[in-house]
């Protein structure tokens, strides 16, 4: 590699650094003193350094774990325990007429409050077929959270809950609040449009098939 002359620069450096001080005469003695004392102190320093690093790592790990757990908890909808059926029926009695399916035909429906007439409603076999088909189609979809929802919650509400669970981010939604969740469910149920394809025939108490009223199943 070519070396530049740069005589001015060399002269400036020579003037600047020519008078470099000499190494102190007692340099070697002082170095020996340090050699004799330094190792122990150095070893101790290393030990404390490693201990401090380990403690810091432990604290960080604990912090991360706690933070993760704290943020993970609200994702569960297990806390959305619904009150019993009667309360819900009362709230919605003037708007919708939910029908619980019974295993035996012509069984009196328990949710009597939903009827404005005050008389119990019997379901015909045809009605049970329609409801059965509707519920079996929904059963598969609601399997995932069926264990986490209380038994008292309606199927239509389950569908809403499923939809909300699928479409929302647990960390960001306000639906973590139980009351907020309930309000949304009620509003969604209220806004649901009856589907004409699922008209159910309801018979009178005597068991004949004279049509006294048509009901609609809410499908959301």
């Amino acid at each position: 590699m070519k070396t530049n002359k740069d005589t001015d620069l060399r002269e400036a450096l020579r003037r600047r650094y020519a008078n470099t001080p000499s190494l102190p005469t007692d340099f070697t003695e002082r170095l020996r003193e340090r050699m004799d004392t330094k190792p122990a102190a150095s070893h101790r320093g290393h030990w404390w350094g490693w201990m401090s690093a380990a403690a810091a790592c432990l604290l960080i790990a604990i912090g991360v774990g706690v933070y993760y757990e704290f943020n993970k908890t609200p994702c569960s909808i297990a806390k959305l325990s619904a009150p019993d059926n009667k309360t819900e029926c009362t709230q919605l009695s003037n708007r919708v007429h939910p029908i619980e399916q019974s295993s035996a035909p012509d069984e009196v429906i328990e949710c009597t409050q939903s009827s404005n007439r005050g008389a119990p409603i019997r379901q015909s076999g045809r009605t049970n077929q329609a409801i059965g088909a509707y519920q079996s189609s929904n059963r598969a979809r609601s399997t995932e959270i069926s264990d986490t929802l209380g038994n008292g919650i309606w199927r239509s509400e389950r569908n809403v809950a499923i939809a909300i669970q699928m479409l929302s981010e647990c960390e960001e939604t306000i639906l973590r609040e139980e009351q907020e969740m309930r309000n949304h469910i009620i509003q969604a149920t209220f806004n649901a449009t009856p589907q004409p394809a699922n008209v159910v025939l309801v018979t009178n108490e005597a068991g004949d098939y004279e049509v006294i009223e048509t009901k609609a199943i809410i499908e959301i």
Binding site: D6, Y17, T28
Partner: protein, 182 residues
């Protein structure tokens, strides 16, 4: 006159004897480099002691194939000194670095500009050298003052010879730019 191998063997077998040999042989060289960088005798002595202590403890890692013992000691001293200067104060921003590349001058012209023999320019260069960051000052010192080849400088400063050549060119352009302001 002891060779590097004899000094290393002495350090391995008898530390005190090895210490005397190594300090006697390379003490002034290392101390001189450090004191020129830091400018303070007390600090330079402390750093030179640190250098020898570290060399003693890591003598196993010394590879005579890569560099001489003196160069290896200077490399340790350079690292320790840079760390010390960073702790003491932040490294100075190189003087008007941004203007350097705007200067349009070729190698021959630059060499001529820095070889005029003009007393005023030499004095001004002395002042400008003091304003350079420590790594740039050291490069000038090692290459121009101590006449070390760039390969040896690259081992001490842990940079490739090509990178150091570029850096040297940039420093010279920077000094030339400052000289134009006289």
């Amino acid at each position: 006159m002891k060779t590097d191998k004899q000094i290393v063997d002495a350090v391995m077998s008898d530390q005190r004897k090895g210490l005397d040999l190594m300090v006697g042989h390379y003490g002034q060289e290392v101390f001189g480099m450090v004191v020129r960088l830091v400018g303070d005798v007390m600090d330079a002595e402390e750093l030179t002691q640190d250098t020898f202590l570290r060399a003693f403890r890591s003598m196993d890692s010394y590879d005579p194939q890569r560099a001489s013992l003196g160069t290896w000691l200077c490399r340790i001293a350079y690292r320790l000194t840079l760390d010390f200067m960073k702790r003491r104060r932040p490294l100075l921003v190189s003087i008007e670095d941004s203007e350097v590349w705007q200067t349009d001058i070729n190698e021959e012209q630059l060499e001529a500009e820095l070889s005029t023999g003009n007393e005023e320019r030499i004095s001004r260069l002395e002042e400008l050298i003091d304003q350079l960051p420590p790594d740039e000052r050291l490069l000038l010192m090692l290459h121009y003052f101590e006449e070390r080849p760039l390969d040896e400088c690259s081992f001490i400063m842990d940079a490739s010879p090509h990178a150091l050549a570029n850096r040297l060119y940039r420093i010279r352009k920077k000094l030339h730019k400052q000289l134009q302001k006289i």
